[in-house]
């Protein structure tokens, strides 16, 4: 059975398709709406107005703006909390429920919370709940937390697809009402590329639902003409259902359309976002059935919904009378009109209503509204005559009604303008906010700039269109505007004080937060009189609607209470976003790159356990996890005794070329490179300006002006960035390129490495004299052009072979093949780390921290003292005069069955912490536990250090000379 008792005939309802019904459910009950209906409009058509319960007092609430501005329309969908019912369209079988109730939405067990509101004065949670000590966390916080929040989050909510798209244009026009459309047309006609952004599904803005004349004709006529012109304009791209959700520096605009975010950079920005109608403040002003006038108009014209049967209107401007005409024409009886103005202006619209015989009470307000017996809807209002600011006579007139429409004033939709740095001011005469001091490329058009009549809206749009063109240096002389009307400058009608306190309270200033008149006033009385303090103390404006309906009233109340002007009090800072935005949309598709070396698949085939190293995947060890320790031990020994292969492709590679290449390295690194011989490599140590070690590697000199520089896997990106950063200042004649991914690298190491390499490399003299330790060569390996570095990476005879990444796998295969007779084995980075530890090599960022200097790790040998400058040099000199309290030492412990020390165990001196273990492992070559630790600076080999194990036990370790293995370094120099 169709229960859409409030549905109007097909002659109205721009958004809805009267031929297509959709069934959905609300609170477990099925309803029918039309395609194009929002949840709220479809429910309204079914005469369902109660949507949710309020945050604090659990009061019944429904729509007020029909524009998605308030918290009270937030409903729960499956898997999605806090959905604005007056914006989300219904879809077949959509399951909707209300939010924040205990029991049922209609009969909330917490509905009487409001009765205790006097015991919950503003900021009450600061004033109590803490005696005796500890009671807050133990008792009260859990009670409060349980009540917090609105909707429910679903841990298993289905994963949606979100994406992003970049856009660029000359002019972005936000809002497609009369002003936005005319501004866009002028700009487009002048030849600019325009993007017109509209949050609704159809262009037109207020032309779609407002009434600008007594006959009710001009809006649609104007709309049709402007839209035709826009469609005919190839320069205008239209985005509907798209919200420009913030303004970021230089017109960088996130435009959200469904699950997509456009990131738009606009040269010029026109904000034609219109105005937000404001509620009036009186007793029970929050009851369902109390709508803003514009909401009633939206229901009628956009959704073909009659907002009620019998209405009262509270107004202070022409808009209230326009709403009254709309209601009358759509079969709603008007019980009374209360006009806050002592003598309303007799405009044509007013006259028409007056002639209709509707009772108009000038100088009256709605003093209170009363609810139906179920408490869930308005049933009547009480009118009183106004005798002063916020004061009324005691006599009242009562009118039954199921609808109250409020039109007492507006604020501009100013959020984006304020985000751009615009300042808000308040004019006491017109009682309205206005905006100034905008960036030069930011323009206001239409109602957001205070205009109200159609003529002035169009005119404002035309003027703005021209201003935009002027900024872009375009001529607009020949351009005719689409619509011109004789314009008289005017502003919309704001009443300065639509605020009427009541002895029983419940005159809500902020509906989101259930804040009443007294809460704001009392916040000032408590001393919180700066507007930001009022906000923070009372929470006014902090709810989901971010003060859209409360900012103006709060400013007026605070100004009044503290005897300042509204302008002086101001509003709180406007922050992005404009509308609440889904986190999924902001994140988009996640982009977390993974990098694989050229040999990755071979590692997998060989059974490697892959581990992450920065963004790369590297083989940890080859074999089953259950045999981990044995694998690492075997891999260690294969290099010590035979020959092994390590994939070192992830190590950073940088080409540094140019006449100043050596000078550049001299400045970037601690060592000296000017006199480095061609064909030789040299250690690199990089410090930051504070003298902290930040990376290491080797520099290979292939010619006077060409160095090939290596860096650590995790450090190379930062090294590259740092190099570019410095050279923008130094302007040395040098070219720096990060070639990390362009090369694959394989380290072949072990006493048999020369023999294996010899089989696939015959254009380089590999003899100890022909290719000595620390030399570098270019040649071919397995017919692949290669760079060879003889470095002491793992402390054995070894070669690092760098080849184009595309050839990495071929090189790996060739070396494994020719190494077969030596039983060559692949070696992972776990064994590599151990091999390097045995040689006492530090790992930057493991054995160093964010303050470690070369002095602390005994690497002053790598500092060239005679250079005039290098980054960090000055600090290192100073540090020489202020020696550190700690240094890195090597220690050994006899291997035993007991608890072994772990990395990060602390070193104690008495009870004081003096350092910690940075690396520790069992060395199969030495059959001891070896490690590096920070200890007191005066610690010397032969002494003991105290290690506090994770269990709390303290053990002693012997400090020894380093390296632990092959102290004379004979093996790597073979």
């Amino acid at each position: 059975m169709d229960t859409q008792i409030n549905r109007l005939p097909a002659s109205t309802g721009l958004y809805v398709d009267h031929n297509e019904s959709i069934t959905f459910s609300f609170e477990g009950k099925n309803y029918t709406g039309l395609a194009g209906d929002t949840i709220a409009s479809a429910l309204a058509a079914n005469n369902v107005w109660l949507l949710s319960r309020s945050f604090k007092y659990h009061r019944p609430r429904g729509v007020m703006s029909m524009a998605g501005l308030e918290a009270d329309t937030l409903v729960q969908l499956d898997g999605e909390p806090n959905v604005a019912a007056d914006r989300r369209k219904i879809t077949p079988n959509l399951q909707v429920s209300g939010q924040n109730y205990n029991g049922s939405l209609e009969k909330d067990k917490n509905a009487n919370m409001g009765a205790f509101s006097k015991f919950m004065p503003v900021g009450f949670y600061y004033k109590a709940f803490f005696r005796p000590k500890g009671i807050w966390q133990k008792f009260w916080e859990p009670v409060v937390r349980k009540r917090a929040g609105l909707g429910k989050i679903d841990f298993n909510s289905p994963h949606s697809y979100f994406d992003k798209c970049y856009k660029f244009c000359d002019v972005a026009v936000i809002g497609s009402g009369p002003a936005g459309l005319s501004a866009a047309l002028i700009a487009a006609k002048a030849g600019t590329e325009v993007i017109l952004i509209e949050q609704e599904s159809l262009l037109g803005g207020s032309l779609n639902y407002s009434r600008f004349d007594a006959e009710g004709k001009v809006a649609s006529a104007t709309r049709n003409e402007l839209l035709e012109a826009v469609v005919a304009q190839p320069n205008i791209e239209v985005l509907t259902n798209a919200v420009c959700n913030a303004w970021f520096a230089d017109n960088w605009l996130p435009i959200i359309q469904g699950n997509r975010m456009y990131k738009l950079r606009a040269k010029e920005m026109v904000l034609a976002s219109g105005k937000m109608e404001q509620p009036a403040i009186f007793h029970n002003n929050d009851l369902p059935g109390i709508l803003l006038g514009s909401a009633a108009q939206r229901l009628i014209r956009l959704y073909a919904v009659r907002p009620g049967q019998r209405a009262v209107i509270l107004t202070a401007n022409d808009d209230g009378y326009a709403t009254a005409l709309d209601l009358l024409e759509n079969g709603v009886e008007i019980a009374a009109i209360a006009d806050l103005r002592p003598s309303p202006i007799a405009t044509p619209i007013y006259e028409q209503i007056n002639n209709n015989g509707v009772s108009i009470f000038a100088g009256h307000t709605v003093y209170a509204a009363a609810a139906r017996s179920d408490k869930n809807h308005i049933q009547s209002v009480e009118l009183r005559e106004i005798i002063g600011q916020g004061q009324c006579k005691n006599e009242s007139k009562h009118f039954d009604c199921d609808l109250l429409c409020v039109s007492i004033g507006f604020t501009p939709t100013y959020q984006l303008a304020l985000q751009s740095g615009g300042k808000i001011s308040y004019d006491d005469e017109t009682a309205r906010f206005s905006i100034s001091q905008l960036p030069k490329s930011f323009h206001l058009a239409g109602a957001v700039n205070g205009f109200n009549k159609l003529s002035s809206l169009l005119d404002s749009g035309n003027q703005t269109g021209k201003a935009v063109c002027d900024n872009l240096g375009l001529d607009t002389k020949g351009i005719t505007s689409q619509q011109t009307m004789s314009s008289t400058s005017n502003t919309y009608g704001n009443h300065p004080w639509p605020i009427f306190p009541h002895p029983k309270g419940k005159e809500f200033v902020d509906l989101d937060e259930d804040l009443q008149y007294a809460d704001i006033v009392n916040a000032c009385k408590d001393g919180y009189s700066e507007i930001e303090l009022v906000k923070r103390y009372s929470t006014v404006g902090m709810g989901p609607s971010q003060g859209r309906h409360s900012a103006l009233a709060t400013a007026r109340l605070v100004a009044n209470e503290t005897q300042r002007s509204v302008a002086e009090v101001g509003v709180t800072t406007a922050r992005p976003p404009f509308r609440a935005e889904k986190l999924g949309v902001i994140a988009g598709r996640s982009f977390e790159p993974e990098r694989l070396t050229a040999i990755h698949h071979r590692h997998k085939e060989l059974g490697a356990q892959m581990i992450t190293a920065g963004v790369w995947w590297r083989p940890g060890y080859y074999g089953q996890p259950k045999n981990r320790d044995q694998c690492i031990r075997d891999e260690n020994l294969v290099i010590r005794n035979n020959v092994g292969l390590i994939d070192v492709s992830t190590l950073g590679g940088l080409e540094v070329r140019g006449p100043d290449a050596a000078e550049f390295l001299n400045r970037m690194y601690t060592f000296a490179y000017a006199k480095q011989k061609i064909g030789m490599s040299r250690y690199l140590l990089m410090t930051n300006p504070a003298g902290t070690i930040i990376d290491d590697g080797v520099a290979c000199r292939f010619s006077d002006e060409h160095f090939y520089v290596t860096a650590t896997t995790g450090g190379v990106d930062n090294v590259y960035r740092t190099m570019l950063w410095w050279n923008t200042q130094w302007r040395l004649d040098v070219d720096i390129t990060n070639v990390t991914a362009a090369y694959a690298g394989i380290n072949i190491a072990g006493p048999n490495s020369r023999e294996v390499l010899h089989k696939v490399c015959n254009d380089i003299d590999l003899s100890p004299e022909g290719f000595p330790y620390l030399a570098v060569r270019e040649g071919t390996v397995a017919h692949i052009p290669a760079r060879l570095l003889r470095v002491g990476f793992v402390g054995e005879l070894g070669y690092e072979i760098h080849v184009p990444a595309s050839q990495g796998e071929a090189l790996w295969d060739a070396l494994l093949e020719v190494g077969k007779e030596h039983n060559i084995q692949p070696v992972g980075i776990e064994a590599q780390r151990l091999l390097r530890l045995e040689k006492g090599h530090i790992i930057v960022s493991q054995d160093t921290d964010a303050m470690t200097t070369p002095q602390e790790v005994r690497m002053t040998w790598a500092i060239a003292k005679k250079k005039p400058f290098f980054v960090g040099g000055r600090s290192l000199q100073l540090i020489d005069n202020h020696p550190s309290d700690r240094k890195l030492v090597g220690f050994i412990i006899e291997a035993s069955q007991n608890e072994s020390p772990k990395e990060s165990n602390i070193i104690l001196d008495g009870n004081n912490i003096v350092g910690h273990i940075t690396s520790v492992a069992y060395s199969p070559s030495l059959n001891k536990i070896i490690g590096l630790a920070f200890a007191k600076a005066d610690t010397e080999p032969g002494m003991q250090i105290s290690i506090k194990l994770s269990s709390g036990m303290v053990i002693q370790a012997q400090v020894v000379e380093m390296p632990f293995y092959d102290p004379e370094n004979k093996r790597q120099e073979m």
């Binding site: 989050i153 913030a246 970021f248 922050r575 999924g584 992450t612 493991q846 921290d849």
Partner: protein
């Protein structure tokens, strides 16, 4: 219903409690002028009045009280630092937090709901282990937890191996918690004012007068006031104000942003942070989810918000909590953070006699509000840097005796 609220319920007229005094004229001179009415300045004022009997004090702020970073921070209160001096300092602050509401008669809603910091890499596991070891040694409740324990602490966390950098382990800090940030400033303001301290809002300091190496007066937009002592506690403006006294600080100032979602029913009690993802998350008493991350990449004195940071921060947050995709962001904001080279504050003596520094609070100073005030008050009263803050002395940058907190500050503030 707590008894404290009964009087409000039964009173016929609202029994206003003037927490923050009404504006009044400036005196010609004060014993102590405190520049900056943020949490730190007000805490100092309170401790001077309450424990040292010094009440001829003016606290000046160019804006409203607590409107700087006190108003903008994400209220992480923890003591799981890495250097022994910092652990001792922040631990002392946590102790003060525990009794703060009762000491001030103002509820800060301080709650130790625990903080879980996630490690996604070996390097983080090592650093966290070190923090746990140091903390345990100094009596702070921190321990390493494995994936199974993490699941128990925060069941809704994404423990999937398909995450780009799966969670390996965590640092579980039971002493970690949070408080209602603004109310710290208000509570101290209320009690300080009751003891005679003057608080002047909308009073901007524009100059510092020095005679023979000693501070003599403070210039403001409302006139010049004489003083015997002055202390600056201006957070993001430390370099600018110090410069008025001719002092150069080793500080770089970066914006730090944070954001909050619409309220949802509570589901997350502990504070969760991830060093690798540069993101941290908590749920407030109102049900909102607060999300924060690392500082912006370049120096700036503007509190504008940016889209770029929001995009990357939220993307990272969704790695931890994929179902947040359906949550809605309500507000984003920024504050200016004064970063020191070693991520520790600069406190105590300055090159100008009787001009005291409480600066370099970077992204981590909220939790120090009680202890800083206590130590700075002691410093001023004794005219000598208090022992506990000696390691944070400005001179350490000359002698390279830095107090390294880089490893314990990233992304959990």
């Amino acid at each position: 219903m707590p008894l404290g609220l009964l009087k409000y319920g039964f009173a016929s007229k609202y029994p206003a409690r003037r927490d923050i005094p009404a504006p009044k004229d400036l005196n010609k001179s004060y014993d102590v002028v405190i520049i900056g009415a943020g949490g730190h300045g007000l805490s100092t004022a309170y401790h001077l009045a309450r424990y040292h009997g010094i009440t001829n004090v003016a606290v000046l702020d160019k804006g409203y009280i607590g409107g700087g970073n006190t108003a903008r921070n994400t209220a992480v209160v923890r003591s799981n630092y890495i250097s022994p001096e910092a652990v001792a300092f922040y631990k002392a602050s946590v102790e003060l937090f525990k009794n703060l509401a009762n000491e001030l008669g103002y509820n800060q809603m301080y709650s130790q709901r625990g903080q879980l910091t996630l490690a996604h890499s070996d390097a983080s596991v090592r650093t966290f282990t070190l923090r746990a070891e140091v903390n345990k040694h100094l009596g702070v409740r921190s321990e390493m937890v494995d994936r199974k324990q993490i699941r128990e602490i925060v069941p809704c966390l994404n423990m999937g191996k398909n995450m780009r950098f799966p969670i390996q382990a965590g640092l579980w800090h039971r002493d970690g918690g949070t408080a209602r940030h603004d109310s710290i400033a208000w509570g101290y303001a209320m009690r300080a004012a009751q003891m005679g301290v003057e608080i002047h809002q909308r009073t901007e300091v524009t100059g510092v007068n020095i005679n023979a190496g000693k501070v003599t007066a403070i210039e403001t937009n409302r006139g010049t006031i004489q003083c015997n002592h002055a202390i600056q506690a201006v957070a993001g403006m430390s370099s600018v104000v110090a410069k008025m006294a001719g002092i150069q600080l080793p500080i770089r100032s970066y914006p730090l942003q944070a954001m909050v979602t619409q309220p949802v029913k509570p589901f997350l009690d502990p504070l969760v942070s991830s060093a690798g993802l540069h993101a941290y998350v908590s749920q407030t008493a109102r049900g909102e989810i607060v999300i924060g991350g690392g500082s912006d990449p370049y120096e700036l004195y503007s509190t504008r918000s940016t889209l770029d940071l929001k995009e990357s921060l939220i993307a990272h947050t969704l790695e931890l909590f994929p179902f947040f995709a359906e949550l809605k962001l309500l507000r984003q904001w920024a504050g200016i953070t004064d970063m020191t080279p070693d991520y520790s504050p600069i406190m105590g003596e300055s090159p100008v006699k009787n001009y005291w520094l409480d600066a370099g609070w970077g992204t981590w100073g909220f939790k120090a509000t009680p202890i800083s005030g206590k130590c700075m008050a002691e410093t001023i009263a004794q005219e000598k840097t208090a022992a506990m803050i000696q390691p944070f002395h400005l001179d350490r940058f000359k002698t390279f005796k830095l107090s390294n907190e880089a490893g314990a500050t990233a992304a959990s503030h």
